[in-house]
């Protein structure tokens, strides 16, 4: 018989290495005389899209388009260290370093521009739509490229190097108290499953996922990370079992270590909540790992809701579910 159930899972997750470990990201920025800018950072984009995020951050700050920004990343010969692409930290940590760097380069540009425009303070200068000029006076502005070009001829350069260190203190080893991470991301997911009581096979029918991302700098990427996380969570809950024999992996192949395919994924509805994080770049915080965490709890709870068995070790394989069902029915029959 096929039985359906719904379950809920919630998560909170700290961004960065945590527990007082030095968590530092760095970036170099240069604003060029063709109206573009370059960012150098050690952060590695493995497909999650950090290079796009850094381009967006710099573009936003300089009033340019993201395609005007060249992000050169992940080269130990040339880029400053920004730590690992792990711990849900690149948008937040390296994003902060890139933001600090572009603001530093921009501040010397603003000082130069204030002089050029005879503006009493650099605060009176704005960068917008590829132009630089006096705030609120469209007649007094020039293309950014022209101003930087003129500046270069006079020997001025708009270059910066900055780094950003995440807030983290080690927990007290005696009491376990402390503030190991900052910030935290929050998420909640609900899953509907169908359990086949004859075979023990669980099919996930639908997942609704809601995540607090601070600010979605790139909503398409946020949706992609949520869907990717949910799918990894489905694998974590139902399929993926690393078998070890004296420390050696017994199933190091896709034929024996199963991950979800297109047929295993349900309809995923991804939503995000934007509650700006005051310490994040433009309010953003991390989402990478948090997206897969509530899925497991939601699925295990949904199985319980469907057939009334509590699976306490993952993955919830058909064998485990059939065994749990048999034990439950044995109890009932007794």
């Amino acid at each position: 018989m096929k039985k359906r159930g719904i379950g809920l899972g919630c998560s909170w997750y700290g961004t960065g290495y945590g527990n007082g470990f030095p968590d530092v990201s760095s970036a170099f920025v240069e604003i060029h005389d063709d109206g573009s800018a370059t960012v150098l950072t050690g952060a590695v984009d493995v497909g999650q899209g950090s290079n796009s995020i850094f381009a967006q951050i710099v573009a936003e700050e300089l009033g340019l388009e993201a395609q005007d920004i060249c992000v050169y990343s992940g080269d130990t010969d040339a880029t400053p260290d920004s730590g690992t692409t792990a711990a849900t930290r690149q948008t937040y940590n390296t994003g902060n370093a890139v933001l600090k760097a572009v603001r530093q380069a921009k501040s010397s540009l603003l000082v130069y521009a204030a002089r050029e425009f005879s503006c009493p303070t650099p605060e009176g200068i704005e960068l917008k739509e590829g132009y630089i000029g006096v705030k609120g006076d469209p007649s007094r502005r020039v293309p950014l490229a022209d101003l930087v070009f003129q500046a270069r001829l006079r020997g001025e350069r708009f270059i910066s190097a900055e780094s950003s260190t995440a807030r983290s203190t080690p927990v007290d080893p005696e009491t376990g108290q402390g503030a190991p991470y900052w910030p935290y991301s929050f998420g909640c997911q609900s899953a509907e499953v169908e359990v086949d009581t004859e075979t023990g096979v669980v099919q996930v029918l639908k997942v609704v996922a809601v995540h607090d991302v601070g600010k979605a700098l790139n909503p398409t990427q946020v949706e992609g990370q949520i869907a990717g996380g949910v799918t990894q969570g489905i694998g974590y809950a139902l399929l993926e079992e690393l078998e070890l024999d004296e420390g050696k992996i017994k199933n190091p192949a896709f034929s024996s270590y199963l991950i979800p395919t297109a047929l295993d994924v349900p309809n995923i509805e991804a939503f995000f909540v934007e509650d700006a994080e005051s310490t994040g770049p433009f309010g953003a915080k991390g989402l990478g790992e948090p997206a897969m965490l509530p899925t497991v709890a939601a699925i295990i709870n949904a199985i319980d809701d469907a057939v009334g068995v509590r699976i306490t070790s993952i993955p919830a394989t058909p064998e485990k579910i059939l065994k749990a069902l048999a034990e439950k029915n044995g109890e009932v029959n007794r």
Binding site: V46, G47, Q48, G49, T220, Q221, E223, G224, I226, A227, G228, G229, V230, T231, Q232, A253, F254, S255, I259, P260, T261, A262, L263, V265, I268, A270
Partner: protein
């Protein structure tokens, strides 16, 4: 060495290959077609998918000599920057690419599905794409992109 003749992306080639040489190696090393990716090398992940005589195959499981006389399409033969294939256009539009390693195989599986069935149902799309593993995207946007490409093909 064995002499084979084959057509790759509409160009005829004559190659001398080792008897044990895999098709993926002939494509990548002899023809320089690096768009075909090797993932698992054992026919499970679909990253090396190409179209061979109208069927998708894992090019890591086909010997180059077996491709003698065949017509092949690799990702290099599907659209280009200026004029992308509808599947590629839809992938870009919806953001179906994350790390990109599965993408060439995904695009070829989708193209072959749409070549044969211009009105696929959601289940048919799922089945056609289920031989290609992806670890980043959760398939959500990939499946949506194939659906969009199919709908555009109908118009």
């Amino acid at each position: 060495m064995i002499e084979i003749k084959l057509v790759v992306n509409e160009k005829p080639y004559t190659l001398n290959v080792e008897p044990s040489e895999r098709l993926i190696d002939a494509l990548r090393n002899r023809l320089g077609l690096l768009g075909t990716k090797e993932g698992c090398g054992e026919g499970e992940c679909g990253a090396c998918t190409i179209i061979m005589d109208g069927k998708t195959v894992n090019s890591c499981l086909v010997l180059a000599a077996q491709a003698n006389g065949s017509v092949l399409t690799t990702i290099e033969g599907v659209g280009n920057r200026r004029s992308p294939h509808p599947v590629q256009k839809a992938f870009v539009e919806v953001g179906a690419v994350q790390c990109g390693f599965c993408t060439p195989g995904m695009v070829l599986s989708a193209k072959n599905l749409l070549d044969k069935n211009s009105h696929p149902s959601e289940t048919e799309i799922g089945i056609a794409m289920s031989g290609n593993l992806c670890r980043c995207t959760g398939y959500d946007k990939i499946l949506r992109a194939v659906k969009i490409a199919a709908e555009e093909g109908k118009q």
